[in-house]
Subunit: 373 residues, 2 copies
């Protein structure tokens, strides 16, 4: 299928995989649509493919303009010619995850059995289901083995799941600001977000397509989640108690403090680009993620068959998936005999640091990928 | 007015203070209702009065059964005969704060000017306004000086504000798990809660009295806030990833994990006992709290006229008002020449620890109060 791959930079494609997909929850999707982008050229031996996995609200627009927001790709600073993930050397694939809303099958997609959107009739999915769908895409592209699978946050969960689910297909894995299991606090924050969506009458049990979406509830969900992406120190440094462009407190309920205005903006801009039901499904998949549980309760077992090299990175101010989570993955990798390097980077930006400008992260990424071949 | 004080234990009273109250925001309440409880007996010299200040969603039912929930008072383990705040010795007063909904004037109260509930026409208040209303109550009770003012969380803010606003009336202050200013992250979490309430169509710009209240939005607000009251480690210890009484994941959106069920319960039970508009007003008062700002930007100035002894306590897993917040208060007190003791207690329970069984806290409280007279 190599000849179907256009070699221009940042090519957007959609594919319908007709063989369907059986899911961890017992359900089955009769067909799976996947929207993806590719960057760079696949070598004749197909040995230079890197799969980049996106986070909860990310998408396939890794290093090219987002069609709805007009903003640059979410990891443009990391992926491109001469960048740490160098598209002059690597053939980079990024696919919208199963359950999302940017072209891959999800709750907003049309159920071929009914001709109407799935909405909450979409089956509940897992991180491993997302990975299985990605593997089907790679089959379609004729790519057997990945030179690397790379991801931060939920993307890191996918990278870990790839190594466990398809050990023979992964030569290296880069796992940034991630975890091998969602903690009680992680689940709690996601549950707040889901309840915020479901409390919005416009949610209407998920059947809002063609009507007004539950934007108010989804905006609240995003605001709550956004706080967890930032560090307390980072918020203090960026906003502190600074007021909006006013001389004094208004003694009202408008956004008096800059941090309020910022959060409201985060909520409002999110609803323009994301589907509320997708938010429910993907947060659920993350909450269900517990890689050890899938392997007899011992995380090391997940990596027993792996022949990959691993690179783990955490950030010292990340309280969503703190350094301890990465360390426990590294211990399990070492227990499984897998080569694993780990670094905790210092950043004021909390969990979001993996998306932001970080020369240290660039060096770690380029060095790890460069040492492989 | 001493003869108006009944000497039975846990006496509930309501008083209307006809002189009115001018507020920090420039507004004025023509009259102020205050609901309060007293415990113990006031000495002839009126020198044994302790004011206990409650937290955001607390009330005057300090050590007696809550009339709506039937539960014990919120600090029953701390206040009573032979308890650390010993009502055989102290005359303890606890008043529902201004803006709340348990009998003290707040947005659900009837505006005497219109005969209808204030709703969002209630003026925005500050922590200092709450303290001024308490001072009016003490005037009414004939109590000039407080042997101590005691509070945790928002109650601690009031204790600090008391010392700064009425330095001649405070002999000692106990400030637990509190802060002298709300941080950007504190404000951010409160703003999520307010937006959750306001996103509920039943909120109706605050005019929901006599109709269905915005329970769904308020429940989401409470859920988000509740996470901040607990530590990550405490949540992991209590819930981890334990499922509800089921054998396996349901692959649905019911509360699969115990932590989800717990949080939903916290949200639902809260709306039965609290008014959504009060939640808006009180969180706003907390966000506005910055004791240094009220005193020329230097926290030590707030205590320049104080002659009180201070006792500060923080908890090592409290990430809402972390130990650093208490330390900065202690530094300011020392800079002002005020006697201040400080201890960080170890607890797995996060911010909520000050409300829970803690023999160490009991010893600190009894020892500090006992050393005074």
């Amino acid at each position: 299928m190599l000849d179907t791959i256009d070699q221009r930079f940042g090519l957007s494609r959609n594919v319908t995989l007709p063989q369907g997909l059986s899911l961890d929850g017992g359900g089955r999707l009769a067909t799976v649509d996947i929207a993806y982008e590719t960057y760079g050229m696949l070598d004749a031996d197909k040995g230079n493919a890197i799969l980049v996995c996106h986070a909860l609200t990310g998408d396939q627009h890794l290093a090219s303009e987002h069609p709805r927001t007009g903003k640059p790709g979410w990891w443009q600073r990391m992926v491109g010619p001469g960048r740490p993930i160098d598209t002059d050397r690597w053939f980079v694939v990024c696919a919208n995850v199963l359950g999302s809303c940017m072209g891959t099958s999800g709750p907003a997609s049309i159920d071929p059995a009914t001709g109407a959107p799935y909405a909450m009739r979409f089956p509940v999915i897992t991180i491993r289901d997302m990975v299985r769908a990605q593997a089907m895409l790679l089959d379609h592209l004729g790519i057997g083995r990945l030179a690397a699978v790379v991801g931060g946050s939920m993307g890191g969960m996918q990278a870990l799941s790839w190594s466990a689910t398809y050990p023979e297909r992964v030569e290296a894995a880069v796992v940034l600001a991630s975890t091998a299991r969602h903690s009680a606090q992680n689940i709690a924050f996601h549950e707040v977000g889901r309840q915020a969506v479901m409390a919005d009458p416009r949610w209407n049990n998920g059947d809002y397509y063609g009507a007004e979406p539950p934007a108010a509830g989804l905006a609240v969900a995003r605001m709550a989640a956004h706080i967890t992406y930032l560090s307390e120190a980072g918020l203090t440094e960026k906003f502190g108690r600074k007021l909006q462009a006013r001389e004094a407190k208004t003694f009202g309920f408008d956004a008096d403090f800059q941090v309020e205005s910022y959060l409201r903006h985060q909520g409002l801009s999110f609803v323009d680009r994301f589907d509320a039901n997708s938010y429910l499904y993907i947060t659920r998949a993350m909450d269900y993620f517990d890689l050890a549980e899938e392997h007899g309760g011992l995380l090391a077992n997940a990596f027993a068959a792996s022949r990959a090299r691993f690179c783990l990175v955490s950030f010292d101010t990340d309280w969503l998936y703190p350094t301890a989570d990465s360390r426990s993955i590294v211990r399990a990798l070492h227990a499984a005999g897998a080569p694993a390097s780990f670094v905790e980077l210092s950043s004021p930006y909390g969990h979001d640091a993996f998306l932001l400008d970080s020369p240290e992260l660039d060096r770690v990424m380029a060095g790890f990928l460069g040492s492989g071949r």
